[in-house]
Protein backbone atom coordinates (compact mmCIF):
# COMPACT_ATOMS: atom_id res chain seq x y z
CA UNK A 1 0.00 0.00 0.00
CA UNK A 2 2.71 2.40 0.97
CA UNK A 3 4.74 1.51 -2.13
CA UNK A 4 1.80 2.22 -4.43
CA UNK A 5 1.23 5.59 -2.73
CA UNK A 6 4.89 6.50 -3.27
CA UNK A 7 4.65 5.47 -6.94
CA UNK A 8 1.46 7.50 -7.41
CA UNK A 9 2.95 10.59 -5.76
CA UNK A 10 6.14 10.25 -7.82
CA UNK A 11 4.15 9.90 -11.04
CA UNK A 12 2.01 12.93 -10.17
CA UNK A 13 5.12 14.96 -9.40
CA UNK A 14 6.77 13.92 -12.66
CA UNK A 15 3.64 14.76 -14.61
CA UNK A 16 3.35 18.16 -12.94
CA UNK A 17 7.01 18.88 -13.71
CA UNK A 18 6.57 17.83 -17.32
CA UNK A 19 3.41 19.83 -17.77
CA UNK A 20 4.99 22.87 -16.20
CA UNK A 21 7.82 23.17 -18.72
CA UNK A 22 7.51 25.72 -21.51
CA UNK A 23 7.99 22.97 -24.08
CA UNK A 24 4.77 21.28 -22.98
CA UNK A 25 2.67 24.31 -23.98
CA UNK A 26 4.59 25.35 -27.08
CA UNK A 27 2.49 25.72 -30.21
CA UNK A 28 3.85 24.13 -33.39
CA UNK A 29 6.04 26.63 -35.25
CA UNK A 30 7.05 28.41 -32.05
CA UNK A 31 9.97 28.09 -29.64
CA UNK A 32 10.21 30.04 -26.39
CA UNK A 33 7.13 31.90 -27.61
CA UNK A 34 8.91 33.08 -30.77
CA UNK A 35 7.83 32.20 -34.31
CA UNK A 36 10.29 29.80 -35.94
CA UNK A 37 8.46 28.47 -39.00
CA UNK A 38 9.90 25.13 -40.08
CA UNK A 39 13.31 25.71 -38.45
CA UNK A 40 14.40 23.01 -36.01
CA UNK A 41 14.93 24.72 -32.66
CA UNK A 42 15.64 22.63 -29.60
CA UNK A 43 17.71 24.96 -27.44
CA UNK A 44 17.91 28.66 -26.65
CA UNK A 45 21.22 28.71 -28.53
CA UNK A 46 19.44 27.46 -31.67
CA UNK A 47 16.85 30.20 -31.33
CA UNK A 48 19.46 32.92 -30.85
CA UNK A 49 21.34 31.69 -33.94
CA UNK A 50 18.12 31.69 -35.95
CA UNK A 51 16.95 35.14 -34.88
CA UNK A 52 20.13 37.20 -34.64
CA UNK A 53 21.99 38.70 -37.54
CA UNK A 54 25.24 40.62 -37.21
CA UNK A 55 25.77 43.39 -39.74
CA UNK A 56 28.67 45.66 -40.54
CA UNK A 57 32.38 45.00 -40.19
CA UNK A 58 32.61 45.37 -36.42
CA UNK A 59 31.18 42.45 -34.52
CA UNK A 60 30.17 43.53 -31.03
CA UNK A 61 31.90 41.54 -28.31
CA UNK A 62 28.71 40.65 -26.45
CA UNK A 63 26.75 37.47 -25.97
CA UNK A 64 23.06 37.30 -26.86
CA UNK A 65 21.84 35.02 -24.12
CA UNK A 66 18.11 34.73 -24.49
CA UNK A 67 15.26 35.63 -26.78
CA UNK A 68 11.72 35.26 -25.52
CA UNK A 69 8.49 36.27 -27.16
CA UNK A 70 4.92 36.81 -26.12
CA UNK A 71 1.99 38.76 -27.47
CA UNK A 72 0.39 41.91 -26.16
CA UNK A 73 -3.06 42.08 -27.71
CA UNK A 74 -2.36 40.95 -31.27
CA UNK A 75 1.17 42.38 -31.37
CA UNK A 76 4.31 40.31 -30.99
CA UNK A 77 6.52 41.37 -28.09
CA UNK A 78 10.19 40.36 -27.98
CA UNK A 79 12.74 40.42 -25.17
CA UNK A 80 16.42 39.96 -26.00
CA UNK A 81 18.93 39.55 -23.17
CA UNK A 82 22.35 40.97 -24.04
CA UNK A 83 25.32 40.05 -21.84
CA UNK A 84 28.70 41.73 -21.85
CA UNK A 85 30.99 39.13 -20.26
CA UNK A 86 34.07 41.33 -20.64
CA UNK A 87 35.14 43.89 -18.04
CA UNK A 88 35.36 46.65 -20.66
CA UNK A 89 32.47 48.83 -21.74
CA UNK A 90 30.98 47.73 -25.06
CA UNK A 91 29.02 49.99 -27.40
CA UNK A 92 26.73 48.51 -30.00
CA UNK A 93 23.73 49.34 -32.15
CA UNK A 94 20.66 47.24 -32.70
CA UNK A 95 17.34 47.18 -34.48
CA UNK A 96 14.54 44.76 -35.19
CA UNK A 97 13.51 43.80 -38.71
CA UNK A 98 9.89 42.72 -38.90
CA UNK A 99 8.40 40.38 -41.48
CA UNK A 100 4.91 39.09 -42.13
CA UNK A 101 3.69 35.50 -42.28
CA UNK A 102 4.96 35.19 -45.88
CA UNK A 103 8.40 36.48 -44.99
CA UNK A 104 7.84 39.86 -46.63
CA UNK A 105 8.86 43.08 -44.88
CA UNK A 106 6.01 44.07 -42.54
CA UNK A 107 7.18 47.59 -41.66
CA UNK A 108 9.70 50.25 -42.58
CA UNK A 109 13.27 49.61 -41.53
CA UNK A 110 13.76 50.63 -37.90
CA UNK A 111 16.38 53.15 -36.91
CA UNK A 112 19.63 51.91 -35.35
CA UNK A 113 19.53 52.34 -31.60
CA UNK A 114 22.73 52.77 -29.61
CA UNK A 115 23.25 50.54 -26.57
CA UNK A 116 25.90 51.04 -23.92
CA UNK A 117 26.86 47.86 -22.08
CA UNK A 118 28.90 48.22 -18.91
CA UNK A 119 31.43 45.51 -18.19
CA UNK A 120 29.99 42.24 -16.82
CA UNK A 121 26.43 43.46 -17.22
CA UNK A 122 23.16 42.27 -18.70
CA UNK A 123 20.47 44.32 -20.38
CA UNK A 124 17.11 43.31 -21.75
CA UNK A 125 16.13 44.96 -25.00
CA UNK A 126 12.38 44.95 -25.60
CA UNK A 127 10.44 45.61 -28.77
CA UNK A 128 6.81 45.51 -29.83
CA UNK A 129 5.82 44.64 -33.38
CA UNK A 130 4.76 47.79 -35.23
CA UNK A 131 1.54 46.21 -36.49
CA UNK A 132 -0.40 42.93 -36.27
CA UNK A 133 0.93 41.81 -39.69
CA UNK A 134 4.47 41.63 -38.25
CA UNK A 135 4.59 37.98 -37.24
CA UNK A 136 8.33 37.33 -37.30
CA UNK A 137 11.53 39.27 -36.67
CA UNK A 138 15.29 39.36 -36.83
CA UNK A 139 17.38 41.08 -34.18
CA UNK A 140 20.12 42.94 -36.03
CA UNK A 141 23.20 43.97 -34.11
CA UNK A 142 26.30 45.92 -35.11
CA UNK A 143 29.38 47.21 -33.30
CA UNK A 144 29.56 50.97 -32.79
CA UNK A 145 32.69 52.86 -33.70
Amino acid sequence: MKASTVVAVTLAALCATGCGTKKGFEKPGFAFGCPIGDTKISTMGDLVRAKVAKEGGQNPDVELEEIRCTTTGDLLKVDVVVFNDESDVERLMYKFRWSDAEGMRAADEETWKPLLMYGNSRQTVTAIAPNPKARDFKFIVMGQE
Partner: protein, 198 residues
Amino acid sequence: MTRTSSFHIARIASLLSLAAAVALAGCGGPKTRYGDAGSVETVTNQFGSTDLQMLAEQMTQSMLQAPVIASGNLPIVTTQEVKNKTSEYIDTRAITNRMRSSLQKSGRVRFAVDQAEMQKQLDELNRQQGEQYDQDKSVQQGRMVGAGYRVTGEITSIVKETKNVKDVYYQLFMSLTNIQTGIEEWSETKDIRKTTER
Protein backbone atom coordinates in the same frame (compact mmCIF):
# COMPACT_ATOMS: atom_id res chain seq x y z
CA MET B 1 64.63 84.69 -75.92
CA THR B 2 62.20 86.25 -78.39
CA ARG B 3 59.12 88.11 -77.30
CA THR B 4 56.84 85.44 -78.88
CA SER B 5 58.47 82.48 -77.07
CA SER B 6 58.34 84.25 -73.68
CA PHE B 7 54.65 84.93 -74.30
CA HIS B 8 54.15 81.20 -75.00
CA ILE B 9 55.99 80.20 -71.80
CA ALA B 10 53.91 82.61 -69.75
CA ARG B 11 50.73 81.25 -71.31
CA ILE B 12 51.72 77.61 -70.64
CA ALA B 13 52.64 78.49 -67.04
CA SER B 14 49.27 80.14 -66.46
CA LEU B 15 47.46 77.14 -67.96
CA LEU B 16 49.46 74.75 -65.76
CA SER B 17 48.70 76.74 -62.62
CA LEU B 18 45.00 76.84 -63.56
CA ALA B 19 45.02 73.03 -64.08
CA ALA B 20 46.78 72.55 -60.72
CA ALA B 21 44.22 74.75 -58.99
CA VAL B 22 41.35 72.79 -60.55
CA ALA B 23 42.99 69.49 -59.55
CA LEU B 24 43.54 70.69 -55.98
CA ALA B 25 39.99 71.92 -55.72
CA GLY B 26 38.80 68.53 -56.95
CA CYS B 27 40.86 66.66 -54.34
CA GLY B 28 40.11 68.84 -51.34
CA GLY B 29 36.55 69.92 -52.10
CA PRO B 30 33.45 68.70 -50.32
CA LYS B 31 32.08 65.31 -51.30
CA THR B 32 28.38 64.61 -51.17
CA ARG B 33 27.08 61.11 -50.73
CA TYR B 34 23.80 59.61 -49.66
CA GLY B 35 23.88 58.08 -46.19
CA ASP B 36 21.73 55.82 -44.06
CA ALA B 37 18.91 57.94 -42.61
CA GLY B 38 18.56 55.45 -39.78
CA SER B 39 22.21 55.36 -38.74
CA VAL B 40 23.45 56.54 -35.36
CA GLU B 41 24.44 60.19 -35.73
CA THR B 42 27.02 61.58 -33.29
CA VAL B 43 28.27 64.68 -35.10
CA THR B 44 27.56 66.90 -32.07
CA ASN B 45 25.76 66.27 -28.80
CA GLN B 46 22.84 68.51 -29.71
CA PHE B 47 19.44 66.94 -30.33
CA GLY B 48 19.85 65.00 -33.56
CA SER B 49 18.15 62.66 -36.00
CA THR B 50 18.92 59.53 -33.96
CA ASP B 51 17.36 61.11 -30.86
CA LEU B 52 14.25 62.10 -32.77
CA GLN B 53 13.82 58.69 -34.41
CA MET B 54 14.60 56.71 -31.27
CA LEU B 55 12.29 58.73 -29.00
CA ALA B 56 9.42 58.58 -31.48
CA GLU B 57 9.87 54.83 -31.97
CA GLN B 58 10.08 54.06 -28.25
CA MET B 59 7.08 56.26 -27.45
CA THR B 60 5.05 54.62 -30.20
CA GLN B 61 5.90 51.13 -28.93
CA SER B 62 4.92 52.12 -25.41
CA MET B 63 1.69 53.76 -26.53
CA LEU B 64 0.69 50.68 -28.53
CA GLN B 65 0.61 48.81 -25.21
CA ALA B 66 -1.72 51.31 -23.52
CA PRO B 67 -4.97 49.48 -22.69
CA VAL B 68 -7.17 52.02 -24.54
CA ILE B 69 -5.17 51.41 -27.71
CA ALA B 70 -4.40 47.70 -27.30
CA SER B 71 -8.14 47.06 -26.81
CA GLY B 72 -8.61 47.37 -30.57
CA ASN B 73 -11.48 49.88 -30.26
CA LEU B 74 -9.74 52.25 -32.71
CA PRO B 75 -9.78 55.33 -30.48
CA ILE B 76 -9.76 58.72 -32.21
CA VAL B 77 -6.82 60.77 -31.04
CA THR B 78 -5.61 64.29 -31.67
CA THR B 79 -2.07 65.51 -31.17
CA GLN B 80 -1.36 68.64 -29.21
CA GLU B 81 1.84 70.56 -28.71
CA VAL B 82 4.89 68.86 -27.25
CA LYS B 83 6.49 71.76 -25.38
CA ASN B 84 10.17 72.30 -25.95
CA LYS B 85 11.63 73.21 -22.55
CA THR B 86 15.21 72.65 -23.61
CA SER B 87 17.74 75.36 -24.30
CA GLU B 88 18.00 74.47 -27.98
CA TYR B 89 15.65 74.59 -30.95
CA ILE B 90 13.84 71.28 -31.42
CA ASP B 91 10.98 70.84 -33.86
CA THR B 92 8.81 68.74 -31.56
CA ARG B 93 6.18 68.40 -34.27
CA ALA B 94 8.64 66.16 -36.11
CA ILE B 95 8.46 63.78 -33.12
CA THR B 96 4.65 63.74 -33.02
CA ASN B 97 4.42 63.45 -36.82
CA ARG B 98 6.64 60.39 -36.77
CA MET B 99 4.65 58.86 -33.94
CA ARG B 100 1.39 59.64 -35.69
CA SER B 101 2.37 57.90 -38.92
CA SER B 102 3.69 54.83 -37.06
CA LEU B 103 0.53 54.61 -34.94
CA GLN B 104 -1.68 54.96 -38.00
CA LYS B 105 0.22 52.18 -39.76
CA SER B 106 -0.30 49.97 -36.71
CA GLY B 107 -4.02 50.07 -37.48
CA ARG B 108 -4.80 50.68 -33.81
CA VAL B 109 -5.46 54.41 -33.79
CA ARG B 110 -7.26 56.99 -35.90
CA PHE B 111 -6.28 60.63 -35.79
CA ALA B 112 -8.62 63.61 -35.89
CA VAL B 113 -7.36 66.85 -37.37
CA ASP B 114 -5.27 68.70 -34.81
CA GLN B 115 -5.25 72.38 -33.87
CA ALA B 116 -2.33 73.19 -36.18
CA GLU B 117 -4.16 71.79 -39.22
CA MET B 118 -7.65 72.97 -38.26
CA GLN B 119 -7.64 76.16 -40.30
CA LYS B 120 -6.65 74.28 -43.48
CA GLN B 121 -9.40 71.76 -42.79
CA LEU B 122 -12.02 74.51 -42.32
CA ASP B 123 -10.81 76.40 -45.39
CA GLU B 124 -11.30 73.33 -47.58
CA LEU B 125 -14.62 72.47 -45.94
CA ASN B 126 -15.91 76.00 -46.55
CA ARG B 127 -14.47 76.17 -50.08
CA GLN B 128 -16.56 73.17 -51.11
CA GLN B 129 -19.75 74.93 -49.98
CA GLY B 130 -19.27 77.49 -52.75
CA GLU B 131 -21.62 77.68 -55.72
CA GLN B 132 -18.82 76.54 -58.06
CA TYR B 133 -19.08 73.03 -56.61
CA ASP B 134 -21.65 70.33 -57.32
CA GLN B 135 -23.27 70.19 -53.88
CA ASP B 136 -24.28 66.55 -54.32
CA LYS B 137 -20.60 65.61 -54.46
CA SER B 138 -19.27 68.16 -51.95
CA VAL B 139 -18.51 67.28 -48.35
CA GLN B 140 -21.15 68.43 -45.91
CA GLN B 141 -20.75 70.75 -42.96
CA GLY B 142 -21.21 69.36 -39.48
CA ARG B 143 -19.83 65.90 -40.14
CA MET B 144 -16.37 66.23 -38.58
CA VAL B 145 -15.60 63.76 -35.82
CA GLY B 146 -14.02 64.96 -32.61
CA ALA B 147 -11.22 63.10 -30.92
CA GLY B 148 -11.81 61.10 -27.77
CA TYR B 149 -8.21 61.39 -26.62
CA ARG B 150 -5.42 63.93 -26.86
CA VAL B 151 -1.68 63.35 -26.92
CA THR B 152 0.53 65.96 -25.37
CA GLY B 153 3.95 66.18 -23.80
CA GLU B 154 7.13 68.08 -23.15
CA ILE B 155 10.82 67.66 -23.72
CA THR B 156 13.32 68.94 -21.18
CA SER B 157 17.07 68.90 -20.99
CA ILE B 158 19.81 69.27 -18.42
CA VAL B 159 23.16 70.43 -19.73
CA LYS B 160 26.36 70.27 -17.69
CA GLU B 161 29.60 71.52 -19.13
CA THR B 162 33.18 71.79 -17.99
CA LYS B 163 36.26 72.73 -19.96
CA ASN B 164 36.65 69.22 -21.35
CA VAL B 165 33.30 67.54 -20.95
CA LYS B 166 29.77 68.39 -22.06
CA ASP B 167 26.96 66.20 -20.78
CA VAL B 168 23.43 66.55 -22.13
CA TYR B 169 20.41 64.74 -20.73
CA TYR B 170 17.09 64.84 -22.58
CA GLN B 171 13.80 63.65 -21.19
CA LEU B 172 10.65 63.34 -23.27
CA PHE B 173 7.39 62.98 -21.39
CA MET B 174 4.17 62.18 -23.23
CA SER B 175 0.66 61.40 -22.13
CA LEU B 176 -2.68 60.33 -23.57
CA THR B 177 -5.72 61.88 -21.89
CA ASN B 178 -9.38 61.06 -22.26
CA ILE B 179 -10.92 64.38 -23.34
CA GLN B 180 -14.37 63.56 -21.92
CA THR B 181 -13.25 62.47 -18.48
CA GLY B 182 -9.87 64.15 -18.15
CA ILE B 183 -8.38 60.86 -17.04
CA GLU B 184 -4.81 60.26 -18.14
CA GLU B 185 -4.90 56.84 -19.77
CA TRP B 186 -1.22 56.49 -20.60
CA SER B 187 2.02 58.29 -19.95
CA GLU B 188 5.65 57.53 -20.59
CA THR B 189 9.05 59.11 -20.15
CA LYS B 190 12.04 58.26 -22.30
CA ASP B 191 15.46 59.68 -21.78
CA ILE B 192 18.78 60.02 -23.57
CA ARG B 193 22.21 60.93 -22.21
CA LYS B 194 25.01 62.12 -24.48
CA THR B 195 28.50 63.03 -23.36
CA THR B 196 31.17 64.71 -25.42
CA GLU B 197 34.78 64.76 -24.25
CA ARG B 198 37.42 66.92 -25.85
